[in-house]
């Protein structure tokens, strides 16, 4: 029974980690290539989730809503980049923090204005409503399995895109030395807009996938944004590989910690202390992990800049 629980929680951790990766991938590229702190990334996630939920209600199909929401969010992201964020690349980090924090405030109120203050419902597609048996005797929700599949597929496609294609080579060049890439005549402007659009589309994908599991509500982007930042920093800013490793680490530590740490502590501490300490440590685990990684490797696990 314990092994089954461990398997289930391990899969939950994998699923959460892969969704964090979708957010962190876009974030780390913007961070790495444009040297830009983008706090508004979580707002794109929120906008993607709201669009997916609204479109799913309007069209009656999750499968039509998903690509539409991704395309729309990508367009919003590119418009934002071309219209506003582009002006911030040359500015210091403080200005970027101020501007993108302002965008969070604006996005939250605009979403509240358009969609109303109450949380939206986004149902998982009916075909994936049940459970499947991964190994005999171990049922696991089909939708979560689907999320894991999508996450792995996106990771594979991104890896191919970054490592095997010309666009990927440009992105890597930009991340490891932006000035040199500029000097070699790469059209960085167009590249930045493209990368931003891709990041926004991945945000919408994560929003639509997590929508049925978590609530689609105002402020949903803020809490997950910080976790995505943790992933980016653990992995090393600008590194897609780092983002994947960091995301899986964070997803696992968070899920496994919450599930097992309280029980584990009961093994060698008095019950009342373990019950008080367990949830606290579990909630702090991800941040302890990050502080520890930065203590020993101050530029993350896979620094992109040589």
């Amino acid at each position: 029974m314990n092994a089954l629980l461990l398997l289930e929680q391990g899969l939950n951790g994998l699923q959460f980690g892969l969704m964090l990766f979708l957010l962190a991938a876009g974030l780390t590229l913007v961070f790495g290539i444009m040297d830009m702190v983008n706090l508004a990334h979580g707002s794109l996630y929120m906008i993607g989730a709201y669009l997916a939920a609204t479109l799913a209600q309007a069209t009656g199909s999750f499968w039509i809503a998903l690509p539409l929401a991704m395309a729309a969010t990508a367009l919003i992201g590119m418009a934002l980049e071309a219209g506003l964020l582009r002006r911030l690349y040359e500015r210091d980090h403080l200005s970027q923090v101020l501007a993108t924090f302002a965008l969070i405030l604006i996005a939250n109120d605009l979403v509240r204005m358009i969609f109303g203050p109450q949380a939206l419902m986004l149902d998982a597609p009916r075909a994936l409503a049940g459970t499947i048996e991964i190994i005999p005797g171990a049922p696991y929700p089909a939708f979560r399995t689907f999320i894991i599949g999508v996450g792995l597929a996106v990771a594979a496609v991104l890896y191919w895109l970054i490592v095997r294609t010309r666009v990927g080579a440009l992105v890597r060049a930009g991340a490891s030395n932006r000035e040199m890439a500029l000097a070699l005549g790469i059209n960085v402007k167009r590249l930045f807009t493209l990368v931003f659009g891709l990041g926004a589309a991945l945000c919408a994908l994560a929003g639509a996938m997590l929508g049925p599991l978590l609530a689609v509500q105002i402020g949903m982007g803020e809490s997950i944004l910080i976790q995505a930042f943790v992933v980016v920093v653990i992995g090393g800013i600008g590194s897609i590989r780092g983002a994947l490793v960091g995301a899986l680490l964070v997803g696992m530590v968070d899920t496994i910690g919450r599930a097992f740490l309280p029980t584990l502590l009961r093994g060698f501490l008095p019950n009342n202390i373990a019950d008080a300490l367990g949830p606290t440590l579990a909630a702090m685990a991800v941040y302890i992990l990050m502080a520890a990684v930065l203590y020993w490797k101050p530029t993350g696990l896979f620094p992109a800049r040589g």
């Binding site: 302002a102 204005m113 800013i237």
Partner: protein, 314 residues
Amino acid sequence: MADRSTQGWLLAAVLAAAVAFPFAAEALGAGYYVGVATRVMIYALAASSLNLVIGYGGMISFGHAAFFGAGAYAVAILAQEGVVSALVAWPLAVAVSVACALVIGAISLRTRGLYFIMITLAFAQMLYYFFLSLKAYGGEDGINLAARSRLPGLDLRDETAFYLLVLAILAGCLYLLKRLAASRFGAVLRGIRENEGRMTALGYPTYRYRLVCFTIAGGAAGLAGALIVNQHGFVSPSLLDWTQSGTLLIMLILGGVGWLYGGVAGAAAMLLLEEILSNWTGYWKLGLGIVLLFVVLRAPGGIGSWLGGGGGRG
């Protein structure tokens, strides 16, 4: 900008107006605004302590709310345990924040740039979750303070008395900040901010200087926290949330990073803007966001640059 003596007169006039304000407000039946002004001054103190870290020390900390919240929690927890004297609780609150800042700073200062921004954020989140799951002291709901701290000779329940005490503390801290910036310590800090490698080569233990700066600022933020819990009569984990660190940062940028009065100007501008906009529309954050965007794009130096301040940056 005006010369030194005009500046001195201006400062004296502002101080006199600030002292007269609560009496005028009470006389005009606008006593509500005494509380608003007290809140502005407490946030001004917190933002000014962040100014020491960012404006003078050149370290962009995104976790300053941790010290603000730790100070507030220290006072609230002590009050719940029966310690209500300000003379005991407030110094202890500062001590707790100093200890937190010393540990967090010692680890965080190993990193640079974006990584420093993020690691300070991570530590603040740790404290946030710590207080969130502290069931004995309210957990998610926080702690209600039964009454304000007690100070012999001054009844802090009186809004005007509390206002004047906060004003005195803020003025004292700003004076200390000014002296600190003008001292040898301040000069070394500026040197480190401009070119750390050169300061190291000159033989200065730069890590220690930065850590001391970070720790002093943490203590000042803790004092602001002790005041804010007395002002609100309440503390909850949301006081340590990352958006709170963001708010302090934004106040400072709005006011002018590295300008002595940047924290004060920013806190006043932001809280008053909030006060006005929220009376006018439910969507006041939208308005605040637009104003902030405008400041970034059109007035990067903050309020300080309009007034000819912005001294520290150059």
